[in-house]
């Protein structure tokens, strides 16, 4: 029992015994049996994770983070895919969870905003945590980054390089993060005294395909932009492809930046300047938030942490540079500041 108290950081253990126990643990190479623990404690053992077809890179990072947290907590992750866009498909996939008695559900994007899913969970009384929503509703469990600030910083980066005409490719309109990123872009432009009307904005849907179409439109304009800021890496990669097909060099003729820092960003050439989301950490946070809520529900009370905003990071790589005909050597020299990877 005392060992249990030490391991779980329980109160009322003398310092001397505590170190003695820890020493013994070390010597015996003891590690607690998670099965026994969760059996005895009657804790949540099944946590659902409903995923839709996000980028594979996103999903793998997310799973890594969620798995690490799940193992620490001794609970199992139950995966369920929900590829469908239709409300009934989403509801059906969610019901799957309800029937297999998962005790809480994690919703990575884009499902974090899927109304049918949330309605179904609400009805079943199963708590959930949304991940990476741009603008989560109040009093909901959620983990995210500051999309507004991130998009704003990225725009500032392009402005600092000397770009004045920037093309922006928006994300899927039914995800609030799209709107937040756009808001960040607009704010940075206006902050620099530029009229948003002088910028080129096209609608995209976070897919590679939509990125192709949007980029074609941007480059077909009479006064094409010297830089393109796509709302995610897939669309940025598409933009690079289109640029190449048109014989434009990136970044000499056209700068292209993305968002998310998925593996696609470093797979293509040139590697993308982008914003990194700490995906694995977000997944861990999400699971912990959910477990805390479940504990609280079970009567333990405890802190009422509901929202967690993690830090993003600007990742400067080779796809962004000064606009053509800019001051110094027109090419690879400038803006090699910050973190290059």
């Amino acid at each position: 029992m005392t060992v249990s108290r030490v391991v779980n950081g329980g109160a009322n253990v003398r310092e001397t015994t505590r170190v003695a126990v820890l020493a013994a643990i070390e010597k015996l190479n003891y590690s607690p049996n998670s099965a026994a623990r969760s059996l005895a404690a009657g804790e949540a053992t099944q946590i659902g994770l409903l995923y839709s077809n996000p980028s594979a890179a996103y999903l793998s990072q997310f799973l890594i983070g969620a798995l690490a947290a799940a193992r620490k907590a001794g609970c199992h992750l139950v995966l369920e895919s929900c590829e469908g866009e239709r409300a009934d498909e989403q509801a059906e996939a969610t019901r799957q969870f309800v029937s297999t008695s998962v005790e809480g559900v994690i919703l990575p994007p884009p499902l974090s905003e899927a109304a049918p899913v949330r309605a179904e969970l609400e009805a079943a009384g199963i708590p959930w945590v949304s991940v990476a929503m741009g603008l989560p509703p109040a009093r909901s469990l959620n983990v995210r980054i500051d999309d507004f600030a991130a998009a704003s910083a990225m725009t500032q980066h392009l402005l600092d390089l000397g770009h004045r005409k920037i093309g922006f490719i928006r994300g899927n309109p039914n995800q609030t993060s799209s709107a937040e990123r756009y808001r960040g872009f607009v704010a940075a432009c206006e902050n620099a005294g530029l009229d948003i009307k002088s910028m080129a904005v096209e609608q995209g849907y976070f897919t590679f395909r939509s990125g192709i179409v949007a980029t074609e439109r941007l480059l077909d304009r009479d006064d094409p932009p010297t830089a393109i800021f796509a709302s995610n890496d897939d669309m940025a990669a598409a933009a690079v492809g289109v640029a190449h097909r048109r014989g434009l060099h990136v970044p000499q003729d056209l700068s292209i930046v993305g968002f998310d820092d998925t593996s696609l960003a470093t797979t293509i050439w040139p590697e993308l300047t982008t914003v990194r989301q700490p995906i694995a950490a977000m997944a861990e946070s999400a699971l912990n938030l959910l477990l805390a809520r479940l504990r609280e529900r079970r009567g333990a009370g405890g802190g009422k942490l509901e929202e967690q905003v993690l830090d993003h990071e600007m990742i400067l790589r080779e796809s962004s540079g000064p606009p053509p005909g800019a001051a110094p050597a027109p090419g690879k020299t400038a803006a090699k500041a910050a973190k290059r990877r």
Copy 2:
């Protein structure tokens, strides 16, 4: 107890009681508590999964499969990444597992062939299962597809389309699957009465970058190939990129096919004709094989299944077509047979 027997398919239960129990289970919406189960059965609870930087798409699929199997078996997956190529880094990462007392380890490629890892596990007496080796050593636990047959079939597809000069980009030479795929390519060519010397072969390393270099070399030849068979999708995607930069249309001017069917294959444009590996199923098989081995070790005896070869599948998409100047309408018409996705 009788319930336990029914649930676990135990022997010596009368048929009438069996259905009665099942009915009760259904009515009560009962589901066994996996924590209690693994506690009582004293089964393996921690299975390691040592991954290196495979394509993110591969990893996510793999994790999905492994997780599903792990949950069914009631065991936890312990992830550990091992990005390093150096022997000591790999040994170190492996020792991490030994110290945290995982009971078995799953090795997806390319770590399935990493000698330091295997040596370390051997020394610690921890069983492991290799996934997707091309030519696994005898008496080792492994799950794979028939790389030889798959590569051979893909080559045949190109030959059937009319290609006579095919460029082949080999995979990383320290993975046996590279050699097997190459062997399959050679066999199909020779089988068609073509001299392998008339084909163009370049060395690649399964990376996008290496694919660019290899493709440049192939296309710089005096007599460039009309089709390129890359040993994985990343290199095929690179080939598509190079082709586009050179103003070549895929597949009208150049057919390009890959291997693996990772998400990259459908992300880029045109979508890649490739060979699908049932990644999730392979992960499931791997875990089950490992658990069977552990049970057997624990004295239960049982079947001695050691190797499992799963089916691959040819996926025909838009990146392959007849060579330029071929018989019918030079382009999209031919070879729309088989499964198009």
